[in-house]
Amino acid sequence: MIGIIDYGLGNVEAFRVAYKRLGKASKRVKTAEDLADVTHIILPGVGAFDSAMDRFNASGLWPAVKDAVENRDVPLLGVCVGMQMLADRSDEGQLPGLGLVPGNIRLFSEGQHGRMLRCPHMGWNEVDATKETTLLAGLDQDRKFYFLHSYYFEPSDPDAELAQTLYGAPFSCAVGKGAVYGVQFHPEKSHEAGLTLLNNFSEL
């Protein structure tokens, strides 16, 4: 049972529709009790870092999610801002992140990333795996995903990087530590490549 965390921000239904297409059961997780039979957790997120953290903190789900991830080895996938929430902190906000994948969230800047780089990074771009991982299996041909973000994940440990995307300069578009994964792009809105990734995640 795939549990999609519903703390008021993020496209819960789009993930459920994707898993329905894949023939896999999923549910909306609003309370700690909802997590009991969940084997995989998806943490979606849209919007600004602090408003996402605020809402997630207010949901009261953190102790149960932390327990599932740390004590029961339940795989977790953070998506977009949900990925950024896995870090320690973000340049976009004041609130601390969840610290599940050590790192900082940085702003794309023109100086760093070449001239005339449009920001936010918006549109389809290629995801190049930098590590062998089940999450990104079968994506050699069709590896374009939809991105929509102004900030990106800078892992403290380079070993946590699973894939890179080039936008002016390369950045870490997928990270992982233990059973915790994060992707900056939107697999739930990335057609077949997205389905492949979501299927891979459900098989971890």
Partner: protein, 265 residues
């Protein structure tokens, strides 16, 4: 590097999707859910959905329909029309719409753009500017479905939108709407050279060559397409369509040559 986006731009009228010409009342095209399902199959880059009556009629967005469409969409969705409050924008984003677009409200209450941008994120905040040339040939902005002229040049309004936190600006040529005779290229080129925020141009696409011309001249921008993706030909029988991967590759050939090769060092 990122790819230019080729975006069906759907207009929501009172009873379904419509297609306008020069912001006219609009001809019925079909049911929005069906159309979205067809665009899913065609793997479109993203979708823009604009309710062209909400602001004019003073009604709220059709939240129920927006939620149904957002759930159905396998690609990112921008919604615009009738968003006048932060609460409405937040509600739409929480339904799984990736971006909310403000038009009249962005000009009348720019602080609303700022509020949405700072809470929901710049990447989810879009400003749509409808414009046409005045008698002096200057491009001026209009609100309320092209019925109210506002002072200041379109360029000033673009700068203002970006200054208030817009993460994308959509420039919609009223004169080219439904004309299928090509984009307002000179203007698109001028504006894309001076603004580093993502831009999408709507109005005028009549062939894939038009889309290609826009991308060749402006680089990484969004090409919004109305008539061409809902009509079979210039005779205007309704047929939902979108370039296949080969056609798309041809449209993006020059862009790929300029920006994609040799960037990986």
């Amino acid at each position: 590097m990122s790819y230019p986006r080729i975006i069906p731009c759907l207009l929501l009228g009172d009873d379904g999707l419509v297609k306008t010409e020069g912001f006219s009342k609009g001809r019925y095209i079909g049911d929005p859910m069906n159309t979205v399902r067809i665009f899913n199959e065609k793997k479109v880059d993203e979708l823009v959905l604009l309710d062209i009556n909400a602001t004019r009629n003073g009604t709220e967005p059709n939240f129920k329909l927006i939620e149904k469409i957002a759930t159905e969409c396998r690609m990112p969705l921008s919604y615009g029309g009738g968003i006048k409050t932060y609460a409405a924008a937040e509600r739409i984003i929480s339904m799984g719409v990736e971006k909310v677009a403000l038009s009249s409200a962005a000009i009348e209450t720019p602080e609303l753009v700022q509020e949405i941008s700072s809470s929901l994120g710049r990447q989810s905040t879009v400003v749509v500017l409808d414009y046409k040339k005045n008698w002096q040939g200057r491009r001026v902005a209009y609100t309320h479905g092209g019925t109210r002229k506002v002072s200041g040049s379109v360029l000033d309004h673009v700068d203002n939108a970006v200054a208030h936190g817009a993460g994308e600006v959509v420039l919609y040529s009223i004169a080219n709407d439904g004309a299928m005779k090509g984009y307002d290229l000179a203007f698109a080129e001028e504006i894309s050279a001076r603004v580093t925020t993502p831009l999408t141009f709507v109005g005028g696409a009549g062939s894939l060559d038009d889309v290609r011309a826009l991308i060749d001249r402006c680089g990484n921008v969004g090409a919004g397409v109305g008539s061409m993706f809902v009509y079979k030909s210039a005779l205007k029988g309704v047929l939902i369509n979108y370039p296949n991967p080969d056609e798309k590759e041809r449209v993006l050939a020059e862009y790929a040559r300029k920006y994609l090769s040799g960037t990986r060092s």
